[in-house]
Symmetry: C2
DNA sequence: GCTCAAATGTACCACCCGGTCCAATATAGC
DNA sequence: GCTATATTGGACCGGGTGGTACATTTGAGC
């Protein structure tokens, strides 16, 4: 589904790859959409699992994570964000799936929010924006970078998007008190 | 296709809406993918047509255009970017279609590039980044904003993404000479 | 070892999909 | 008005789709 899209992947494709029968599939999932929601959740878990290995509340950790995102996009041959690439098609398929996508993004945002909140409480950044807002902006930059990078088969859009948001965050570093 | 996605829209859906027969479709287009490429081109034309009404090389024009993008997303009930929403599914469908998407984005970027080049040549901005790079960053921000906005059914991601890139561009205004 | 529910295999289905084919019709050029 | 070509109508098709029905096997608990 990640590689070929939701509708580009038939149940038989999946079952063949999983060496399973249809009964198993319908025993555990109520429909293809239901399975798709589970796939989305799985993808999010993978992404957050990798992300957790970085101390995003530090500048070096944040930067390292960004670098890994970029390297991952290259390693996965420009196939896009494991979560975001499913988002557009799912959002258009049904209201339920769209809600699942929203939930996934909001969950992702909340993990970023925690990092920014740590930064804020430790005085590393100072801004009128809430940590939640910073998280949303950051995730949007990530997704935009992925989208263009995948279409153009070029890492540069990701590099630039992430650099933009990184620079912005750095600009929030409080000036040393006089 | 814009509303329900490429594979979520059958030929019969299209032909019914157009009150046309299959023969007509296959007389003018060689396949559904071929039609899809034409749809993408059409969408890009629409977007660029609207964009052309703004003088993006001015700060007020740029800002006004961003505002219109945001209002448009609301007016179209959070269905996403007319171009970008087709991008992910098309990129995954076939290499040809992916190339069409890339072409569309690059065309879009080139129009932005012209605006930034004007800004640069007139001394309104000063940066190591080329106008083309600024254009790519801007388009990525737009797409990221759309993506999250559509999934979350909330304008804020777009507002924040565009604000981020706008602020960045403003930061490139040269300091007055001493 | 028996029971019963959970799990799995298999066959099947109605429907829809993109695409083809060929006949019918309009239209432009003379 | 005749012809040649562009355009359109409509029937048809093979294959693939998600989903269902039901029989069978597995395995946990007693």
């Amino acid at each position: 589904m990640y590689e070929r899209g939701l509708r580009g992947t038939s149940l038989e494709d999946i079952l063949r790859a999983a060496d399973a029968g249809k009964s198993q599939m319908y025993h555990y999932f109520s429909s293809k959409d239901d399975l798709a929601a589970a796939v989305l959740e799985h993808q999010l878990t993978q992404v957050l699992g990798q992300q957790q290995r970085f101390r995003l509340e530090t500048w070096s950790g944040l930067r390292a994570w960004f670098d890994v995102l970029i390297e991952g996009q290259k390693a996965r041959e420009f196939r896009g964000c494991p979560v975001g690439s499913l988002a557009v098609e799912m959002s258009a398929t049904s209201e339920e799936l769209r809600a699942s996508v929203a939930e996934a993004f909001l969950h992702w945002q909340s993990t970023l929010e925690q990092a920014f909140e740590k930064m804020r409480s430790r005085g590393r950044i100072e801004t009128d924006d809430t940590p939640a807002e910073l998280a949303q902006t950051t995730l949007a930059a990530i997704q935009g970078g992925y989208l263009l990078s995948t279409a153009e088969q070029d890492l540069q859009p990701m590099v630039r998007s992430l650099k933009l948001v990184y620079t912005h965050l750095r600009s929030l570093i409080p000036r040393a008190l006089p």
